[in-house]
Amino acid sequence: MKNNHELKPLYLTLAASSVAGYFYVPKANWPACSLVIAACLLVTFLGREKIEDERVEHLKLKAIKAAFAASFILVFLYTWLIATIRQEGWRNQFLSAFDLIILVMLIALGLFHYWRWQDGWTGVAK
């Protein structure tokens, strides 16, 4: 997917605005907000980096694999917790598909940038 990496701060700002909008706009609903957030994070992760080389592709693949595995465990634990809580109001708090995409993308983005930072940090550039 071709995407100017300079637009990424814009997408992240839009995602953050959606989160803020959900909390501060009275009629905001989470399904609509989560759709916007999921879309922004997806475009941010899948978009091209400033220099899109093989190491970037390798790290992105590694990050998404780890993110899916971690998300599965977290969602399983969350679902189990929700299913065992028998209080009114908690029974319908299951995650939507967009919630899952948000979780996967947050973990994947975090891992990718952390590993990228590690790549550039260890050893001193001359």
């Binding site: 080389d53 093989e54 190491r55 590690q118 790549d119 550039g120 050893g123 550039a125």
Partner: protein, 64 residues
């Protein structure tokens, strides 16, 4: 996989950034290769060998 990339780069007095530009990769990738965190793909390895005018085997050696 061990490599002599840092040594070869230093001999030409190139920075990691300069080498990255010549190979059309990022500086972080060069650092990752030099610190043996990442083994380059075959096309990149050939590009490196061509740039330094060395056979691949003189630049990259297997641990075993």
């Amino acid at each position: 996989m061990k490599n002599r990339l840092k040594e070869l780069r230093a001999a030409r007095e190139w920075s990691q950034g300069e080498l990255a530009e010549r190979l059309a990769v990022s500086r972080q990738t060069i650092n990752a290769i030099e610190t043996e965190k990442y083994d380059p793909s075959l096309p990149l390895a050939f590009k490196i060998a061509k740039l330094f005018k060395c056979p691949i085997e003189e630049i990259f050696t297997d641990h075993g």
